[in-house]
Each structure stands twice: as structure tokens, then as C-alpha cells.
């Protein structure tokens, strides 16, 4: 494996800025990684080698002429395949959309192109990001274990070094879960921070687009390139995009971090993860943060509320499609979409009431306790064998791995608050996991600051999967 692919996105950006590497060299390095890892990992739905080379040459010419657009100019990025890319097949992991050629880019993609990013390929996802089927994508950390979804290819590509960063989407955890499993940093920003125009919907009131990278600074750079108000998206917020990297080095002294234990540190939390996240908390305390124990009993309704909303909203989006193309859906997706149509309207609205209740409760906790962030594990387990996802967990805890994986992530989608997964350990079986920081609305900068204070003291983000070391 060439050393160029071991550069983080921000390091590669610095080298482009210094004239030490070209965009084309980075693209070629990624494409060599694709050749080596794709036969096993299968992260890509569509590799855009020619397009990426052409875009890289244009970027190099512009940069050479003194017209560098910013830190993302010339950097190869992968895009989840449920995000529209003009003139490039976008299938959202489904036969229903086979061969679909969007006539426009999603706003997040056009923003990245404007910033000079190079699109290197479209990345596999669960069918319509519903997380109910299993494309052949594998995590190089363990080929027999679930690599995380629904941004399954985004996680696998970045950890495989075949992309410097990737876009994922997150309706209930689909950025943070594969990030935790693949030893990556994954951000679900505030609802409305990144436009969802041109993204195939799962659930309009819960959908987010966000960056998946190897380092915190990379993530902040990529989010800045995607974010901003979009009049084409009715859920888009009229918020200025700050410099998310501006306070990265400021440390955590004086910050107040909330920790809720009844729900997030429950009996289903695996011991290795519990110990590591407790160590993270202790370390923040040692660096001057104040740890505030909080209570949020409303968390108990987040699973039922989110799932009810997702089912009702995604079934509404698919109401016509499923009648026209029923046979083209994966059976697992189809039955969930049919289920959503049978949910009473009163149940959907009750779930939205429950969501409002939870949202008020967590915002009240932030306000009354003057918190800068909250911290808990990203997931209570690292991952699970692919053939055991729907059984009770192998450790005997009476919950399926699939249920466990979203136990800690649904709440941030309901509240719309920024939530970041940060690598913080690797189990004895060699499986990475992370902790999760949730911030105040539109205060991603503080979340990145707290995350970076941990990352700079550790080398988890530098660890590579054995498969990648070997190829």
C-alpha cells in the first residue's frame, strides 16, 4: 500500500497546499487501494476512475495557477449511493432505482464540488438506507462481522484507504454506527446544518447527511465543505457555517460534559467498552473538564418513537414505488415498508409527541446544567457476526445485536442535535469501537474541540485493520 493513502484528509490537504503532492497522485493512490481491497471489501457501487482523474487534473491546473479554492480542493471523496450525483448512476442500493441517472447533484455534493473536492466513487448502502439487508460489503477489521450500516461502503472505503473521506447519511445512526465499527470519526451534524436536498429520503424529519473520516480535523473540514443553508431544502437551517476547526486546540479545561448512566451504561454495555469509555471520561476530567451526572428518563421512549416515525415516513415516500415495483425490493425492506403503511396515524403523531418530549428534556438538561456536551458510548457492543444479527446476543444479554447497535444513536436523530463518534478502543477480538459526543444545536465546533482533545492524546485513529496492513 502506498504511503499516500495513509495520509489523513487534512494532511493530504496540507501537502497539496505546499505543492508536495498533486490531486492526481492522491486519486491514483486511492485507485491502487481500490484495486487491492475491493475484491474483498466491495465498498464501491460505482468507481469513477476516469471522472476522478479528469477532475483531479482540473484541480491541479487551478491550484498551479494560484486558484486554490480551499482545503478540500483536489481531495478525493466517496459519496454514499443514496445521494444524487448528476449524470452518475445513483441506485440507493436498490434494484428499484437500477440505472437511475439524476439530472442534478444533491446540494451537499454540489457544495463539495464547489469547494474543489474530487468525487472518486459511489459507495454501497443498505437498500434505501433502511438497514434491512446486507450488501456484500465487508469491514476489513473482520470479514465475518457486520461492517455497520446503512453507510456500509462509506465506512469500509475510508478504513480501507480507498478514499480520504466519505459522505454517509444518518436517520438513526447510519453514520455513527459504521464509524464506530470501522475505527472512524463520524458526524451527524445538527438537523438542518447540511441540506438533504437530493438525498433519497428515509424519514424526512430524521434524515441527516454527514462526513466519515479517519481524524477529527478531517471531519471538521469535510463538514464545512458540505454545510450551509439551502433554500431548496425546507428543513435547512439559516445558520452561518463557522470555522469548525477554529477552536480545535483549545482543550477541555472549564468545559462541562454531561454523562447519563441509567440508559447508556446499562447492563447491555459490554465490559471492554464500558471500561474504555469510563477511561475517556476520567481523562477529560484530568484535563480540566467538569463531569456532570445527569438523568434523562425520557431516553426510554426514544427507540419506540424513532422506529415508529421512520416506518411511517419511509413508507409514505415509497407508497407509490412499492405498488409499482414490489418485486424489486429486497423482501426485508418490502415487509418493513408494508408495515409502515399499517401504523395508525395516531401512533405516528404520538411518536412525534414523544420525540418533542425527549427533545425538550435533553435541551433542558443542556440548559439547566450549562453543559457543553454529553458523552456516552457510540454503541454498547463493537459489532456482531453477520449470521447472528437478529438472534439474542452471544454474550447472553437478551437483545439482538441489531437492536443494541442503535440503542445509543436514535436519540440524537430525535433531538436533531450534533453527535460525533470518536474511536477510543479495540476489543481483544480486534474490533474497534468509539464513544459519542452530543452537543448543543449548531455547536459542532465545541463537539470537535472536545473530540480532538482526546484524539491528540491517543493513536486509535492511526490503527489499521489487519487486512489493510497485509494487502
Amino acid at each position: 500500500m502506498t504511503e499516500l493513502t495513509d495520509l489523513s484528509l487534512s494532511e493530504a490537504s496540507d501537502m497539496i497546499g505546499a505543492g508536495e503532492v498533486s490531486s492526481l497522485e492522491l486519486v491514483e493512490a486511492n485507485l491502487r487501494a481500490v484495486d487491492k481491497t475491493e475484491p474483498i471489501v466491495q465498498a464501491y457501487a460505482n468507481i469513477l476512475a476516469d471522472e476522478a482523474r479528469a477532475a483531479a487534473k482540473r484541480a491541479d491546473a487551478e491550484i498551479a495557477a494560484g486558484d486554490r479554492r480551499g482545503p478540500l480542493h483536489g481531495l478525493p471523496i466517496g459519496i454514499k449511493d443514496n445521494i444524487y450525483t448528476k449524470g452518475i448512476v445513483t441506485e440507493s442500493g436498490s434494484e428499484v432505482m437500477a440505472g437511475f441517472l439524476p439530472d442534478h447533484d444533491a446540494t451537499c455534493v454540489s457544495n463539495l464540488k464547489r469547494a474543489g473536492a474530487v468525487i472518486i466513487g459511489k459507495l454501497r448502502c443498505h437498500e434505501f438506507a433502511l438497514g434491512s439487508n446486507e450488501p456484500p460489503t465487508r469491514s476489513p477489521w473482520n470479514l465475518d462481522c457486520y461492517p455497520g450500516g446503512s453507510s456500509i461502503g462509506s465506512g469500509a472505503a475510508v478504513t480501507s484507504r480507498s478514499s480520504f473521506g466519505a459522505l454517509g447519511t444518518d436517520t438513526g445512526g447510519s453514520i455513527r454506527v459504521p464509524s464506530s465499527i470501522n475505527n472512524l470519526v463520524g458526524m451527524k451534524a445538527s438537523f438542518g446544518r447540511v441540506s438533504i436536498y437530493g438525498v433519497v429520503p428515509v424519514a424526512w424529519t430524521l434524515d441527516h447527511v454527514g462526513p466519515m473520516t479517519r481524524k477529527v480535523q478531517d471531519n471538521a473540514l469535510l463538514l464545512a465543505g458540505m454545510a450551509g443553508h439551502d433554500p431548496k431544502d425546507p428543513t435547512s437551517a439559516k445558520q452561518p457555517v463557522p470555522d469548525f476547526c477554529g477552536e480545535l486546540e483549545a482543550g477541555v479545561a472549564g468545559l462541562r460534559i454531561g454523562v447519563e448512566r441509567d440508559y447508556f451504561f446499562y447492563d447491555g454495555l459490554q465490559d471492554e467498552i464500558r471500561a474504555s469509555v469510563e477511561a475517556v471520561i476520567t481523562e477529560y476530567q484530568q484535563h480540566g473538564a467538569e463531569i456532570i451526572e445527569i438523568s434523562l428518563p425520557e431516553l426510554e421512549i426514544t427507540q419506540d418513537a424513532l422506529f415508529t416515525i421512520v416506518l411511517a415516513e419511509c413508507s409514505t415516500y415509497h407508497r407509490k414505488l412499492i405498488r409499482q415495483h414490489s418485486e424489486k425490493y429486497d423482501p426485508a425492506s418490502r415487509v418493513m415498508l408494508q408495515l409502515g403503511e399499517l401504523i395508525p396515524a395516531t401512533h405516528y403523531l404520538a411518536a412525534q409527541q414523544a420525540r418533542s418530549l425527549y427533545r425538550a428534556a435533553i435541551n433542558r438538561a443542556f440548559s439547566e446544567q450549562r453543559l457543553d456536551a454529553m458523552l456516552w458510548p457510540t454503541m454498547p457492543i463493537a459489532t456482531a457476526p453477520l449470521d447472528q444479527l437478529y438472534d439474542f446476543r452471544a454474550d447472553g444479554y437478551p437483545e439482538s445485536p441489531v437492536s443494541s447497535m442503535c440503542h445509543h444513536t436514535f436519540n440524537a436523530n430525535l433531538a436533531g442535535l450534533p453527535a460525533l463518534s470518536v474511536p477510543c478502543g479495540i476489543t481483544g477480538e480486534g474490533l474497534p469501537f468509539g464513544f459519542q459526543l452530543t452537543g448543543r444545536a449548531f455547536d459542532e465546533a465545541t463537539v470537535y474541540r472536545i473530540a480532538y482533545a482526546y484524539e491528540r492524546e491517543h493513536d486509535w485513529h492511526l490503527r489499521k485493520a489487519g487486512l489493510i496492513e497485509d494487502v
Partner: protein, 72 residues
């Protein structure tokens, strides 16, 4: 996703679910109806967990904006 309960011992007959789904224009087989019925039984119980809280006076906002209200 791992829903694992039903709210009562009342049994929902797959035939009823099949008829309802067909009436709504959904294409499902009798075998699908069995799966769908089991899922629906559990899903209909989801709202039971909300009863631990008083939601009556909460006005739901299906599409909401955060719009910088840091403390709302």
C-alpha cells in the same frame, strides 16, 4: 430492528392483515402476511412505552427547525 413484545394477548389474525393490505393495494402473499402480522403486533405495542409520560398537551411538529435555539 429488534422489537420484542406485544402489548396484550390479543391475537391479530394474518388473514385480517392480508385482507387489509390487499385492500390498500399492497402486494403480499399469505406467507408475507404471517411475518407482517407478527411485526405489526409488536409495532402496535410501541406506543405503550409512551404512557410512562404525559404527552397529551404536547403539540407534535412533524417537520421542525432548530434555527439556532440553543436552549429551547
Amino acid at each position: 430492528m429488534g422489537y420484542g413484545r406485544a402489548s396484550s394477548d390479543e391475537v391479530l389474525e394474518p388473514g385480517i392483515v392480508l385482507a387489509l393490505a390487499n385492500k390498500m393495494g399492497l402486494s403480499i402473499s399469505p406467507e408475507d402476511a404471517e411475518t407482517l402480522t407478527a411485526l405489526l403486533m409488536n409495532q402496535l405495542a410501541a406506543v405503550d412505552s409512551f404512557d410512562a409520560f404525559d404527552l397529551q398537551d404536547i403539540v407534535p411538529a412533524p417537520v421542525f427547525r432548530l434555527e439556532g435555539k440553543r436552549d429551547d
